[in-house]
Amino acid sequence: MLLLGAYHGINPGMGWLFAVALGMQQGSARGVWRALPPIGLGHALAVGVVLLAAGLAQLVVPLGLLKATVASILLGFGVYRLWRHRHPRYGGMRVGFRDLTTWSFLMASAHGAGFMVLPFVIRMSNDVKAVDAAMPSHTGHMTAAASAGTGSILLGLHTLSYLAVTGLAAWIVYRWLGLALLRTAWFNLDLLWAAVLAVTGAVVLLS
């Protein structure tokens, strides 16, 4: 979860570049820091919504079916993004807290950030369930609560790690490296990202 958060954070299109741009626009490092909370919040919301939906689905759908569904979505979405790269049309250069939160939410959602995290959360809550099963004193209700608790902790970890990397990248580029870096170092992470989505889907399907 931590690694995934860092991976999401390092992608320029996921937030740090926007924070740098706003810092430059305002001519101060405060602009960079001010951009981080809404960008983090939007990202957490995007991942959280997917986790919540999956958590609720878990209550009514057998785990095997859920896993297969998630895996198919990942595979399909990843393959689609390998050949077609669309962006949500939202945002501009004059943005406030709400705009940035919405933008980050849309960017993370459109890139399938939540779905990328999902297989790991399902596996973990699966483990939690296994522990539950081993201790018969726990009720089913408690299991759901435990699962929600695990989900929240994972979401928190993911977001923290995402924010740390986003903030660090923004600061280093703003303070030291400068934007010329974009011309050479901006590897096509979206392509890699799509591949990761597809591979994760395939692995979950086959496992």
Binding site: L17, G92, M93, W103, L182, F187
Partner: protein, 469 residues
Amino acid sequence: MPLLKPDPTFYPSPKMAMQSPPEKLSYLALINSKKDDRPDAIAVVDLDPDSASYGKLVGSVDMTKPGDELHHFGWNACSSCLCPYAPHPHMERRYLIVPGINTSRIHVLDTKPDPKNPKVVKVIEPEVLAERTGYAAPHTVHCGPDGIYVSALGAPSGDGPGGTLVMDPETFEIKGKWEIDRGPQQLAYDVWWHLGLDTMVTSTWGTPNMVKAGVNPELLLAGKYGNKLHFWNLRKRRHVQQLELGAEQQMALELRPAHDPAKAYGFLGVVLSLKDLSSSIWVWYREDGKNGSNGKWGIKKIIEIPATPADPAKLPPLLQGFKAEPPLVTDINLSLDDRYLYVSCWGSGEFIQYDVSDPFNPKKSSSIRLGGIVNRSVHPAKPKQALNGGPQMVEISRDGKRVYFSNGLYTPWDDQFYPDGVRGWVAKVDVTEKGMKIDSKFFLEVEGMRTHQMRLEGGDASSDSFCYS
């Protein structure tokens, strides 16, 4: 297939774009003014001074049908792909979007694998354009952060309103009309923006019916051509403000916003004042001096170029009654450092460089002459051959050291001001701290075709927009 690294012709800021290598070739719109079956073309000009074919045509591709009247074509992608809110840096600057204002047909050309032999890869027919947008006569193309923006002069009936339409930058499908609320805007011409301010600006010429048969003296004297500037919220796609230049001003054409996204001003060229046939340059600016997302815009005339008294015998019939040669500023262009504004006087043949470091106090820093209604000034490459037409479409290299210009305006208008028929040529000046100097080795003449917009390889001073200072 997207690239793995950003397109090397994309630059985060105009300052960085000025470090780019010199262009080696250019794409040039050629217009067939004869009413025969030959279509218009996009030609390729060799700009490499070390090449044997320097200043000559080295390739060309015909459009699919005759009569397009090609105007301000542009790239599918440019530096705006690096903007932080919609980054897609792995697009390629590869396709030229070429609009025909007379037929409303749009051609898409692929400049790869051989940049000297572009190929037509898609044609958008006028019916499709009309059905999807309600517009006709597409005129100016700009690559935006989230799509390709195209201005259009009017509706399929030939009347107004004109406006802006959006094209998908990957599939080149026409997505639709851009405006959600056009307010009082009716006439259209140029479109550009201040990306740093989420603000779009549009200018005003005339509807297709007002321009396609030449300048209409009745409409002109009644002040019916465009004399307004429109400001829009780029995100909300809504009209926010209209600026009026005054009833005597006619044809508010070229828009050149400062390239630096932190600067909130830009320049507008106006062709004609009914009062004295002068042309003028205006600067628009934020009235409160702040560069935030709100605030009113103002506009001020900063340059007036007067008409010159002339012997009626040397003037075309349209102008004989006035006994004067109007300068006719039909195009302007701003260097990437926002320092020099180049102004084409298509009527008098003068080509002027202004230092606009202080946009409110421009200084005329250099000037040359080629062609012109009265003077017919010669090019040093052919000192005995009187030239017609005058400096018109201007393009500046990214480093600001070379400026190219062609001499064709718009076929039906060319013939009114140069009744002997404009013979197509392209010239170039070199720019140093001392000013402009005509390159005597570069003089391209095109037999039987008129020359219009040029696009330089890798981008130029009117192809890209930037989100970082």
